[in-house]
């Protein structure tokens, strides 16, 4: 009894050290001593496991969670934790087995279904992953996570209609889900519905003005429909967020070049040339940049501007 009390004290000490950000050695020492006095103190194993995991010492973390599984063989969470460590070690087969054991213990646990589906996805097991996600959706129709994960899975496998439907389901429940909005926008680009795509990318930017991906994609769509002024604006926005992105500089130079050629807008040749010179200064091997600079110079020579 005395030993158990001592173990509890040491556990609480470990928790306190952990919460105030003490040195890991001290925290680990407290939990290990706790386990020494009471080798059935599950929470100490769990916390110790997560400390090792944070230090990327997966071997020790797995050992801790394995001990928890042995102490609490009927606790699905213990198997979920063990599966999570194996997943981190990229031992997907063992992770899958741990999640399956968790699922056997609690077949209605949506969390476990998602874990299992994710691992199946990583193993290239598309059909079973779809089944798991659908099972989770059926059990928790208003939970966004399984629906979104399923949508991404469909998207990765080019199942356009199915992905759109699931993203729609996510957005019906959360109209501000940025990733769903962005991914749906990209799907519309592939399906050739540029108006819908623009609407969605703009909505993402409205909700998150610093969303670089949305700005970039907006630029891509505007360029594809030959609205070069808007494309330039979108790429400038990207550069305002990340000034040294070579691809955005190249895309902006291209958009500005087409804008310049179209004569509808007052973009100057010198501005484009400076950007291309800069691009070639940071990467002298940029073939597209070289080609565009050549076209710019030759084009203006033809016009008699040089």
């Amino acid at each position: 009894m005395h030993k158990k009390n001592l173990a509890l004290r040491l556990f609480l000490k470990g928790c306190r050290y952990d919460s105030i950000g003490s040195k890991r050695d001290k925290v680990i020492d407290a939990y290990r001593k706790c386990i020494k006095y009471d080798d059935k103190f599950t929470s100490a194993y769990v916390n110790l496991g997560f400390i090792y995991l944070a230090e990327k010492d997966c071997e020790r973390a797995a050992k801790c969670f394995q001990d928890v599984v042995e102490l609490e063989p009927m606790n699905p969470e213990a198997f979920n934790n063990l599966g999570f460590v194996y997943e981190g070690m990229k031992r997907f087969g063992c992770a899958r087995q741990a999640y399956m054991q968790a699922s056997e213990l609690d077949p209605r646990n949506v969390e476990t279904m998602l874990n299992l589906a994710k691992v199946q996805e990583l193993e290239g097991n598309y059909h079973d992953a779809v089944k798991q996600y659908n099972k989770a959706i059926k059990l928790a129709p208003d939970n966004i996570s399984p629906r979104f994960c399923l949508a991404v899975l469909y998207d990765n496998y080019d199942m356009f209609d199915e992905a759109l439907e699931e993203y729609k389901g996510v957005l019906d429940r959360d109209p501000c889900h940025l990733k769903a909005l962005l991914n749906t926008g990209n799907l519309y680009v592939q399906l050739g519905d540029n108006d819908q795509a623009i609407k969605l990318f703009k909505k993402v930017i409205e909700l998150d003005p610093d969303n670089e991906d949305a700005c970039n994609q907006l630029g891509v769509v505007y360029k594809s429909i030959e609205n070069y002024a808007e494309a330039s604006a979108a790429y400038k926005k990207v550069l305002s967020l990340n000034p040294f992105q070579e691809e955005a500089h190249m895309a902006l130079a291209e958009a500005q070049y087409f804008q310049y050629r179209s004569k509808f807008n007052g973009v100057s040749k010198e501005e484009i040339r400076q950007r291309l010179d800069y691009l070639l200064a940071i990467n002298p091997d940029n073939g597209k940049g070289k080609q565009l600079l050549k076209e710019l110079i030759e084009g203006t020579e033809k016009k008699g501007e040089i």
Partner: protein, 473 residues
């Protein structure tokens, strides 16, 4: 559904594992599947290999093989990340076969367990199958360790089959003369390739259409060449995607045939599409309990709150920011202020300083990307190339303070570099100045935050002008 518009019974170009869609289509993939199935079910040898470039269907092939097997006859282990140690791989295999995590750490003990498992499985009338995907990441030493596993095979019984799947690096390793021992033990060796010709691509597309119940002509003759061009010359995954999107576009636009122009339009569309954004796996919190310890219940990796943590932010439309071309910098040359443009020059010393001599290595690294030596401007020489020690020391007089938007930084150009630039023609001189300016700007990236515009181009241009002034003396 779009395929009904084309009088098809099912979707013909889905990129998902479907054994019914591979017959007589992608010949090399079909052979790989059939030969691997044969090696597992009938073969005498215990090693089977599938190699091929990225995106050609290797993983899908092993998935089709696994799905086709009768589960009561086999004990299967699938290792998808063999970059770990051989001991870890063995533990993973044993864990998957037994259904219990393997705690053993010693290689010899693990080999013994593995050996025992093979016989136990055989006694149960089952065969052990080990699939190792991405085997190209395995070192030659690990491959040799795997070869040793094959020694456990009995002469009279085929206890297990190991299927190695990987990119072409695996083929190179296996075909190396030093790996002759390994190579001899390979029963089937398959190479998955792209669809090799436009003609075969046409057969591939038409066969899939027939498998989906199609009978009429859907793709015009000129579409196949376009498909070939847009699919990186026959990558099946891309062909499927292009065909599927084309059929959908055809339905939307009520077309009766898909021609080359449509294919090219579709091909252009997805060139710049990024991969869908997914969720991040999140770790759960530690257990903190001030009263009594309990098993932790919360598991926050898929917390709804995390996904919903995207609250409303102030609405800000996309703005068209014009790039100002006006100079935004003033120069201080050896203490004498030389104004290129009117601006304040408080000379903030907090800015990072460039005090080192520019070496070829420094010059080569922009944003972590190493450039090849051949990319340096012709005629440019670097401090680390000089034979005279005098070049390695920066002349104090060569240090200049450059001020941009009220922030100053030290710009050092070694006298040797200046001499080199002076000796070269105008074009080379310009390139050199541009490269020096780009490097200086990268080192002082904060400048984009204090200047009139965050666009680095005008700032770079001003630094370049300064460098050119310096060179011209």
């Amino acid at each position: 559904m779009y395929y009904e518009y084309w009088n098809l019974k099912k979707s013909p170009f889905d990129n998902v594992p479907d054994p019914t869609m591979y017959a007589a289509c992608h010949t090399s993939m079909e052979s790989a599947i059939a030969e691997t199935q044969f090696a597992i079910e009938e073969g005498e040898d215990c090693l089977s290999v599938i190699v091929g470039d990225v995106g050609l269907g290797k993983t899908m092939s092993i998935r089709i093989v696994i799905d086709s097997l009768e589960s009561e006859k086999y004990k299967i282990a699938l290792v998808t990340n063999p970059s770990t140690t051989f001991v870890q791989i063995l533990r993973e295999i044993i864990g998957q076969i037994t259904g219990k995590p393997c705690g053993e750490r010693k290689k010899d003990d693990l080999l013994e367990i593995f050996n025992r498992l093979l016989f136990e499985a055989s006694d149960e009338g089952k065969k052990v199958l080990i699939f190792i995907d991405e085997a190209n990441v395995m070192s030659p030493k690990k491959l040799e360790d795997l070869r040793l596993l094959t020694n456990m095979q009995e002469d009279s019984r085929n206890l297990f089959t190991m299927v190695l799947v990987g990119q072409m690096e695996l083929a190179k390793r296996l075909e190396h003369p030093k790996k002759a021992n390994f190579f001899q033990r390979i029963g089937t060796y398959c190479r998955i390739e792209k669809i090799p010709t436009v003609e075969q691509l046409k057969t591939y597309v038409e066969t899939r259409l027939q498998s989906a119940g199609g009978s009429g002509k859907i793709f015009a003759d000129d579409s196949f060449h376009a498909m070939w061009e847009c699919s990186e010359h026959g990558v099946p995954r891309l062909i499927n995607k292009i065909c599927k999107l084309s059929l959908k576009a055809g339905e939307t636009n009520e077309l009766t045939e898909i021609d080359g122009d449509i294919i090219r339009q579709i091909g252009d569309r997805f060139k710049k599409i990024m991969r869908p954004a997914g969720t991040k796996r999140r770790q759960r919190k530690h257990h903190e309990n001030e009263t009594a310890p309990e098993p932790v219940k919360e598991f926050e990796r898929y917390s709804e709150a995390n996904l919903k943590d995207q609250g409303e932010k102030p609405v800000e439309p996309v703005v068209e920011t014009e790039v100002p071309l006006e100079p935004v910098l003033c120069l201080q040359n050896d203490g004498d202020k030389t104004l290129l443009h009117e601006s304040e020059c408080p000379g903030d010393k907090e800015m990072s300083e460039c005090t080192d001599v520019m070496t070829k290595e420094e010059f080569a690294v922009h944003d972590g990307i190493e450039q090849k030596i051949g990319m340096f401007p012709e005629g440019a020489r670097f401090a680390d190339e000089q034979t005279h020690s005098e070049y390695a020391v920066i002349d104090e007089e060569e240090q200049d303070e450059v001020n941009i938007g009220g922030r100053s930084f030290q710009l050092d150009i070694s006298s040797s570099l200046i001499e080199q630039a002076r000796a070269s023609d105008q074009d080379q001189c310009n390139k050199l100045a541009g490269a020096i300016a780009a490097q200086a700007l990268r080192k002082n990236s904060e400048l984009t935050k204090v200047a009139a515009s965050v666009d680095p181009v005008p700032i770079w241009n001003e630094i370049k002008k300064f460098v050119l002034c310096k060179i011209s003396g």
